[in-house]
């Protein structure tokens, strides 16, 4: 990239989305130090591939690269990563059981919520982060995560059910303390 305009163009397209990049990396790696390294590495990769960027949404483009870099990182540091438990699915923990949780949820402690989110398997965590914290549409999430639209929708549904299931007993415990 010998053209200084090109570097300026890259910085204009990618640097404004540093918060989005860090937020995603921070939620996927679950610690600050690794998230910072992943973000730096992502920007270097982005610079390398900037020739392939056709303009448009710089955030979605950058987040795609951040997600890839995070997964590379996770592959190397898999030890602490909760994996989807298929037994659980057989027991159908994700069914919607109506209960009077709404009131409890409204007062949910941030700390509880944060922990429950961090403990979600990564493929559920990422769709929730992209949808709820980044406010991205199903289509954008599908592009970033390389998933069919229908899968994005069903993962979000399952992620929310899991989160609710994880929170409810904890909140009841807290309420009784």
């Amino acid at each position: 990239m010998q053209n200084p305009n090109q570097l300026a163009r890259f910085e204009q397209a990618a640097l404004p989305h540093l918060d989005a990049a860090y937020n995603l990396a921070r939620w996927l790696t679950r610690n600050d130090h690794d998230a910072q390294d992943v973000v730096q590495e992502s920007y270097l990769r982005a610079l390398k591939f900037f020739g392939g960027f056709r303009g448009g949404d710089g955030r979605a483009w950058l987040l795609t690269i951040v997600r890839h870099t995070c997964y590379d990182w996770l592959r190397q540091n898999r030890r602490y990563e909760p994996l989807t438990d298929f037994d659980e699915e057989l027991r159908d923990v994700e069914s919607d059981a109506p209960g009077p949780e709404a009131l409890l949820l409204r007062t949910a402690e941030n700390q509880l919520l944060r922990r429950a989110l961090e403990e979600l398997p990564v493929e559920f965590r990422e769709v929730l982060i992209l949808r709820e914290l980044e406010g991205l549409s199903y289509k954008e999430i599908a592009d970033i995560a390389g998933l069919p639209l229908g899968t994005v929708m069903s993962r979000l549904a399952r992620a929310r059910r899991r989160l609710q299931q994880a929170l409810t007993p904890r909140m009841r415990e807290e309420a009784h303390l």
Partner: protein
């Protein structure tokens, strides 16, 4: 609309991703069905807990600077690499010429060092770094950039000090391979002279450091042990200045005031 249909679509409805027709159907169903309404309320409550719960991680202030400087350096390195390959080639060639000259003039100037093999290996690594246009993996004068770069690439954390004020600016770092293991190589510069400082954990108990320069092929080498690490400085810089570099590095890595056995770098 029946309940299980509603429950499948309730998330798309919540996310505003449902078409108008089906949105209206859900809006008709919810007031009529208490169970579905409760589920909807729960998901709504969860969503507002997440979005209002200050769960968004803002990037730390210094990350912006760090990323920007890494990007600019990478960009610069790319555009300069063509130029640099020629420069290093000529530097390498003149180094080789000087080495040949010195060898011819003082054939038996120095006594062979104890670990001759290691010395040879270190010199080869030094020369290779100058000739092959691969002197830095990470090019930065900021030790807070260079040190973390080694994380995950080595099974130890090398002490990185900046000696710019003392006239030996840090230029960067890279991975190298010595003594049958990956090692850290820190690159310093004194005028036109490059100093490679190789660092790896000591295999055996520290020997009393002689800190005497060894000269081979026109390069000077100084080896020492400190804080559980083996250090090897190599350069074509003159002996006196290389000794000064080592003295400075040593005082930064393990200041004389630190209690013995402590790791000042941690």
């Amino acid at each position: 609309m029946i309940c299980h249909e509603t429950r499948d679509l309730i998330h798309a409805y919540l996310d505003g991703e449902l078409d108008l027709m089906r949105s209206l159907e859900i809006e008709r169903h919810l007031p009529a069905c208490q169970a579905c309404a409760l589920i909807f309320q729960n998901h709504q409550a969860l969503r507002s807990a997440i979005t209002t719960g200050s769960l968004y991680h803002q990037a730390p202030d210094d990350l912006r600077r760090r990323v920007q400087s890494a990007v600019r350096q990478a960009d610069q390195a790319k555009s300069k690499s063509w130029l640099r390959s020629w420069r290093w080639l000529s530097v390498g060639a003149s180094l080789a010429a000087v080495a040949v000259l010195i060898l011819a003039l003082i054939p038996t100037g120095t006594s062979p060092p104890a670990d001759d093999l290691m010395t040879k290996e270190v010199i080869s690594a030094h020369v290779r770094s100058l000739m092959a246009d691969h002197i830095y993996d990470v090019e930065s004068s900021d030790r807070h950039t260079v040190k973390p770069w080694f994380n995950g690439r080595l099974d130890f954390s090398p002490p990185v000090t900046d000696l710019t004020e003392q006239g030996f600016p840090l230029k960067g770092g890279r991975l190298d391979y010595l003594d049958n293991r990956p090692v850290a190589a820190l690159v310093y510069q004194r005028q036109q002279h490059i100093i490679n400082l190789f660092i790896w954990p000591s295999a055996q108990a520290p020997q009393k450091a002689a800190l005497k320069p060894v000269t081979q092929q026109g390069f000077h080498l100084i080896r020492w042990e400190s804080a559980g690490m083996t250090f090897f400085a190599v350069s074509d810089l003159n002996e006196r200045e290389l000794e000064e570099f080592v003295r400075l590095a040593l005082s930064q890595i393990s200041p004389p005031t630190a209690p013995s056995g402590a790791r000042p770098d941690r």
